[in-house]
């Protein structure tokens, strides 16, 4: 099993694939904002990094050890927020952008100890660069003589 969550296009950010089971909600405000989910044998943390009230938001998915699962299941409020930050550090994550509560695109991100804000910023930078590259590729294809002649 991969260390990384395998999301599906259009899935809810808090239930990011059809083979994911919801285990625990850790926080919710109008929509689920963080919690534990399982894909195969692996337990992941999901958490909204940015855009909690907005229609567009950034989400992170982190594989958890058994000890981390136990820790996250036993803490409250500020202590839980601190443990959640720790669970996003020093590992490969999947970070995703969602629009209207549906996953749109995602990237693997090698997280250091930069914290969730810097992580979201770095992800958005990577995603913007990738989209620019895709746009250039599409424009190149659109200018192919085969299309111009029709």
């Amino acid at each position: 099993m991969s260390d990384l969550l395998l999301p599906e296009q259009g899935a809810r950010p808090w239930l990011p694939a059809s083979n994911v089971t919801a285990l625990t909600t850790l926080n919710q405000y109008d929509i689920p904002l963080s919690g534990l989910i399982q894909q195969g044998e692996t337990v992941f943390l999901y958490t909204c990094l940015l855009g909690e009230l907005e229609d567009q938001n950034v989400w992170a998915y982190s594989r958890l050890s058994e000890a981390e699962v136990e820790g996250l299941n036993s803490l409250l409020d500020d202590e839980l927020a601190a443990a959640t930050d720790d669970a996003l550090a020093d590992r490969m994550l999947v970070v995703a952008v969602a629009s209207d509560h549906q996953l749109v695109a995602w990237l693997p991100i090698d997280a250091g100890i930069e914290g969730p804000l810097a992580l979201a910023k770095r992800f958005l930078g990577h995603m913007a660069a990738r989209l620019r590259e895709t746009q250039r590729d599409v424009e190149t294809l659109e200018s192919q003589p085969e299309l111009a002649s029709r």
């Binding site: 405000y29 009230l53 409020d77 927020a81």
Partner: protein, 124 residues
């Protein structure tokens, strides 16, 4: 961790967190959620923000508005303490039938004018 919900009295207040840019939610955000969230008590914008947003410091964009629980219940909204580990003061506000434009208007009328975060002085 299971947290025991408690009864909420009619004379208690709930805070709703919102933003200048986005305003305040007055109906469920998506079809597969059945209500709105609030926070038990009269919190400042900064206190409310900390229970909702993971990153960043409070700014003038952060706001709260307050409703007396008895006023919400008199308008047929169900108000229950539904604590989450990340927000033990979480409150669920539901409506027993369709949450349409008229219900959204009634919901808005239950709340005070918004209070916005101020960097210095006033409610922070």
């Amino acid at each position: 961790m299971e947290i025991r919900p408690r009864e909420i009295a009619d004379d208690e207040y709930v805070s709703q967190y919102g933003s200048q840019q986005r305003g305040f939610q007055d109906r469920p955000r998506i079809q597969d959620t059945d209500g709105l969230s609030g926070i038990l008590g009269e919190l400042t914008p900064a206190e409310a923000r900390r229970r909702v947003r993971r990153v960043g410091a409070p700014t003038g964009d952060d706001g709260v508005r307050y409703a007396r629980v008895g006023d919400l219940r008199a308008a047929y909204f169900e108000v229950r303490h539904t604590p989450w580990p990340g927000n033990t003061l979480h409150v669920s506000i539901r409506y027993p039938s369709e949450w349409d434009d008229a219900v959204a208007g009634t919901f808005n009328r239950c709340f005070s004018d918004p209070v916005w975060h101020q960097r210095t002085g006033g409610r922070a």
